[in-house]
């Protein structure tokens, strides 16, 4: 069941992103799904039906697309690599989008890094990973397995190459945010904000604010930016880190090497029309590093904030640099 928090008057910028305020007349509902905390802001009048619709949607998506649930459709597909497998419309649609993202980024976004993640030790939900684990027994191979995946749209059939596994984690979360916002829109619920662990999208604006003040984290700094419409997503190495042997690992694997990326970046936040796009672009820009990542974002008419490991940062595209308000306590 989603927890619902009634609205209250806005207050001055708090010291941390977690201490968020609420626009008057709106409620915040939150629950756990897809390995993260999902929260939404919707008008109080729609608290119960809106929260339940989004919670149900995320539950369905997780049950279908989780690589960790043994009875999910994705887990079944991964177990049958090398054979044609007929799947439901959700998995087919999300995988097709993931392959489109892979093509659009020349493979820098790669949904077929499951074996590499497992070899790196990320073989269970992150919350269940031990603090340290034994060293890897062999080097991780590069990615690229997505190029040989076959789709049969007429029969909704997918054939993975033998030995290749799919991990749809980030893009599935972004698409779920987009889908949840669309569902709220169908229900006539606006304004609305859906946030799945930092991947968020908005529709409409709260009348009292005229915009959505969103906290964006750097390294040692956080800012509030005025967001109006579209989606934001952040990729970085502040979380989802673990120790394997003598190495500190993280979840942003570079398909060119099969190893966690060492790009000189700490995090990348991207604004795009859809959360799916922002999620993929943030990951790819992170892998490319400060200069090429910035070029990548501007080439695709996206806006972003690239934070380097030393805490310095650079904007890309129409990022609202002059409107960034540093948060208290940072």
């Amino acid at each position: 069941m989603a927890a619902i928090v009634p609205g209250k008057a806005p207050s001055p910028a708090p010291a941390s992103p977690e201490a968020s305020t609420l626009p008057p007349g709106m409620i915040r509902a939150q629950f756990r799904a897809m390995g993260t905390t999902v929260s939404l802001l919707i008008p109080e009048a729609h608290a119960a039906d809106g929260a339940e619709a989004v919670r149900t949607l995320f539950a369905d998506w997780e049950q279908t697309l989780s690589r960790f649930l043994p009875d999910s459709e994705l887990a079944c597909l991964n177990r049958h690599a090398g054979e044609p497998v007929t799947v439901g419309p959700l998995l087919f649609t999300v995988l097709k989008a993931a392959l489109a993202a892979a093509r659009a980024t020349s493979g820098l976004y790669d949904p077929t890094l499951l074996q590499q993640m497992i070899q790196l030790g990320y073989d269970r939900p992150f919350d269940e990973l031990p603090a340290t684990m034994p060293a890897a027994t062999r080097p991780q191979p590069p990615g690229g397995g997505w190029r040989a995946i076959q789709l049969d749209p007429a029969r909704r059939c997918i054939t993975l190459p033998a030995g290749v596994g799919i991990d749809l984690g980030g893009i599935a979360k972004g698409m779920a945010v987009d889908a949840a916002l669309a569902r709220l829109d169908q229900m006539g619920i606006s304004p609305a904000l859906v946030n799945a662990g930092g991947d968020l999208a908005v529709r409409g604006v709260p009348a009292a604010l005229g915009q959505w003040p969103i906290a964006v984290s750097g390294r040692g700094h956080s800012w509030v930016i005025p967001f109006h419409h579209g989606a934001l997503a952040t990729s970085g190495v502040a979380h989802r880190r673990w120790q394997q042997g003598t190495y500190i690992r993280h979840h942003l694997v570079d398909p060119r090497t099969g190893a966690p990326a060492q790009s000189g970046l700490w995090s990348v936040t991207v604004a795009a029309a859809r959360c799916m796009q922002a999620e993929v672009a943030a990951k790819v820009a992170f892998l490319l590093g400060p200069d090429q990542g910035r070029s990548f974002l501007t080439t695709h008419s996206l806006a972003g904030l690239l934070v380097r490991e030393d805490g310095t940062w650079t904007p890309a595209g129409p990022w609202p640099t002059t409107a960034m308000q540093e948060m208290e306590g940072d």
Binding site: A148, Q277, V280
Partner: protein, 90 residues
């Protein structure tokens, strides 16, 4: 070789060259037209779930990052408001 025979041979050669040129032009035009059609149709076939083709994924961007639905936008200024949520690292 007599002059008349040489001229006849030259005419035959020219005619052959013309035919070959026309055929080559036609073939290239057909290839170009087919290529353009294929590229134009890729996004719609990618968006369709009813195509009967069994196809490996093809190298095309498919407009993944196209900014539809009004794209994205920022507010006009900083108003000192506290954040309503955070785009934290996931």
């Amino acid at each position: 070789m007599p002059r008349a025979q040489a001229q006849a041979l030259a005419r035959t050669f020219k005619q052959g060259l013309m035919v070959a040129s026309v055929l080559t032009f036609g073939t290239l035009s057909a290839l170009v037209a087919h290529h353009v059609t294929g590229v134009t149709m890729q996004p719609s076939s990618a968006a369709s779930t009813t195509s009967g083709d069994l196809s490996p994924t093809s190298p095309s961007s498919g407009g993944f990052f196209q900014q539809q639905l009004g794209g994205f936008g920022f507010g006009s200024n900083s108003t000192g408001q506290g954040p309503v949520t955070s785009s934290g690292v996931s």
